[in-house]
């Protein structure tokens, strides 16, 4: 293995107004390694990667690439020329173009006669290599794909090679929209690439992924690198401790003792998936946490939307008792109001309750904003800032606050923890359980196995159908994986 240095950052700093997103960060990446990057939401990981990818310019500091000092005129094109690619946290594909055309965008050299074929072959080959059985075609329009598949396309695209070099691929939370299987496929591919001498930077809030698949780990906190060690020197607890969170894994175990008996409380949701052919019915009782499991894009989201649209009108195949709120997972298309402040984004679901006479009470709005800023720890100096000034995980928290702070008795969650850091996750789990005990019902679609253990009852989806139903006591990882792959009955 060589030890050529690819990236050398010295004292890189970046501020957004009063927010110091990066404070004198040093970072090195050598060839043939996978660097893990962890930190709480808003720690500055994405900002650092944006600087490395050339999409943001640093305020101060030295940017060295391949031993050259490129600080002066570093930009996207220069990064590209040096073989540095980035899979950004937010989608960077053009939804109106096909998969092949999106691949072409990345490779200026792909032109001339037959470029479409070549681009299509290039991206599909890579998809085949990383995610076998991805089910994506080169002429699929990206906007028609589910978010998971879009993520696969974007990741694969970053690894395609035409005539530009490829030395380093940055993966900013690549697994947040992938299910277990796809995530594992990606991570083993990363190991393979690294063993071939290329490098990766991997950002994730799933600490197991970082611990298992990276060589070295950089821990960030409030814009600073607070620790840097080899991966094997960490275990989960020490890593969490380095990030500045208290270890609270007992919380999960504690729940096991608290199993509810189904049917004690009234039924609040009863539905049959539109594509179901006989068999299992989807039910939720008041105060339950019901999980929707299975691989991504197998009809879980469709089920949630079916329940959501049944809330305000009568549908034959779906019965919903009580007001409903939804926590979006695909926050760009389903959640964020990009022109509004954080506070307005949080308050929008509860406006009806803030109306005094005819007008929306300013005080109520502010009160709700600051209450939830404290409660769910949204990292911002001012809730009146625009929502996009938040880091990805913090935007997700705002969406949580929107639903939890509403009057909804049933909360639908569409894989809502995408990009939320460990500490917050545990707190949110806690909150969900507390609210469930007080009578709120949660329908929780998740692609993370761990999260299912917070549920009282789990339905496993495959191909738009419910293929099995597991109560908390029957729940094991094997059973879920088994049903996820099993053909429907």
């Amino acid at each position: 293995m060589t030890t050529t240095q690819i990236v050398n950052f010295e004292a890189v700093a970046k501020s957004f107004g009063a927010v110091r997103a990066l404070v004198d960060v040093d970072m090195q990446v050598v060839a043939g390694e996978c660097l893990g990057l962890v930190g709480h939401n808003g720690a500055g990981k994405s900002t650092l990667m944006n600087v490395l990818a050339g999409t943001l310019s640093a305020d101060t500091g030295v940017i060295g690439i391949h031993g050259q000092n490129l600080t002066r005129h570093y930009n996207v094109a220069v990064a590209h020329d040096h073989g540095i690619r980035c899979v950004f946290q937010e989608l960077s594909l053009c939804p109106n173009l096909t998969v092949a055309e999106n691949a072409r965008i990345f490779h200026a050299s792909l032109k001339g006669f037959g470029w479409k074929k070549r681009a299509g072959k290039m991206i599909i080959d890579k998809l085949d290599e990383i995610f076998p059985q991805h089910g994506i075609q080169a002429d699929d329009v990206v906007g028609d794909l589910t978010i998971g598949r879009r993520q696969m396309v974007e990741i694969s695209r970053a690894f395609t090679v035409s005539d530009e070099p490829l030395h380093l691929v940055i993966l900013d939370e690549p697994t947040s929209s992938l299910d277990v299987v796809a995530a594992r496929q990606l991570l083993s591919f990363v190991r393979k690439v690294v063993s071939e001498g290329q490098s990766c930077i991997l950002i994730s809030h799933m600490l197991a992924e970082i611990l298992d698949y990276s060589d070295r780990i950089l821990v960030m906190k409030d814009g600073e690198v607070v620790e840097e060690k080899l991966a094997q020197e960490y275990d989960r607890d020490s890593l969490v401790a380095a990030m500045g969170n208290v270890v609270e894994s007992e919380a999960i175990e504690a729940h096991e003792e608290n199993i509810k008996i189904r049917g004690k409380t009234p039924l609040v949701v009863k539905a049959v998936p539109r594509t179901q052919t006989g068999g299992i019915e989807f039910c939720a009782h008041k105060g339950e946490i019901v999980g929707l499991a299975g691989l991504a894009s197998n009809g879980q989201k469709r089920m949630l939307l079916q329940v959501f649209s049944a809330a305000d009108r009568h549908l034959n195949d779906t019965r919903v008792e009580g007001p409903v709120a939804l926590v979006a997972g695909d926050r760009q298309t389903d959640g964020i109001f990009h022109l509004w402040s954080i506070g307005q984004n949080v308050g929008v679901r509860s406006l009806k309750n803030m109306v005094k006479g005819w007008l929306i009470g300013r005080d109520q709005e502010d009160a709700m904003a600051s209450k939830w800023q404290a409660k769910i720890k949204i990292k911002t100096p001012d809730m009146n800032n625009n929502i996009l000034s938040l880091s990805g995980g913090n935007q997700q928290k705002a969406l949580f606050a929107r639903a939890l702070g509403s009057d909804a008795e049933i909360v639908l969650m569409d894989d809502p923890m995408r990009g939320v850091d460990v500490g917050t996750k545990l707190e949110v789990y806690d909150q969900i359980r507390k609210e469930a005990e007080e009578g709120r019902t949660f329908l929780w679609y998740t692609t993370e196995m761990d999260e299912l253990f917070n549920c009282d009852h789990v339905y496993v989806f495959r191909n738009g159908q419910i293929v099995s139903e597991l109560s908390r006591s029957e729940l094991t990882e094997e059973k879920i994986l088994q049903s996820s792959f099993k053909e429907s009955a």
Partner: protein
Amino acid sequence: MKRYLTNPKFLRSALPAASLLVLLAAIFYIQPRAMSQFGMNLMLQYAVPIALATIAQMFIITVNDLDLSIGPFVGLTACIGATLLNTNPLLGVLALLACIAAYAALGALIHWRNLPSIVVTLGMSFVWLGIAVLVLPTPGGTAPDWVKAIMSFKVPGIPFPLIAAAIIAVVVHFALMRTSYGAVLRGAGGNPKAIGRAGWSLLKTKMIMYAAAGFFGVLAGLSLIGLTSAADAHIADRYTLYSIAGVILGGGEFVGGRVSPTGAVLGALTLTLTGSFLIFLKISPDWQIGAQGGILILVLALRALINRREAQA
């Protein structure tokens, strides 16, 4: 084959053609005389400049902007075509090139200051009209003979407007939908940030799209005077609305870079034909204007029907 027929992409692009065919069938039913080369020529001649203007508008809509000045711009190029281009070809060509350059500059300005295109082009619509009034204070002028010759070109058996429409559709389709840089241009409408992040210049894409719009605006103006043989400043005022309606009728969307050159050309043909349909229906003068609206609604309602069928399937 089955996969192809139920493919939403295919259905979406087949809709504009379907509406056009239905309208055409209705016209042939009411007025069989229209079903001849002579008839088609007469009915569709004026669709050619509208199709060109619609394509121009489509380029702008591709990058998420809207051009409220294309009508007056076509009027201006028509005025230049009927005056300068005829009397002093060199100067005329230069003036038309300057018009295209002005469009590219508009694109640059809009990108540079991140301006709402609607206001800028609204302002420019006054400017184009003003220049046109200066160039040609009273209606008149003469179209150059070669322009007239092109527009009265005859091919035995096939109506010229159909040939022209096909050429426009194929050329633009190839340039925008099939070339590799075309993908970048459309991508700039779909997700400009992604295009920027991949290292392309967004300024360049905007300027190219605006220049292309200017170029097709010029073609629209010239083909128009080829038919009318004279110009006036207001000759194409309504093209602004027509072109927008044509793009939408052709299945284009206002944002997100989803456009279709063939659809746009078909949309322009459809718009033109609604006028003919109306004449053949012989409605009382009071309701003729309304009937035009009614036909537009019918055509679009038909599409809604197919769309819903598709959604159910």
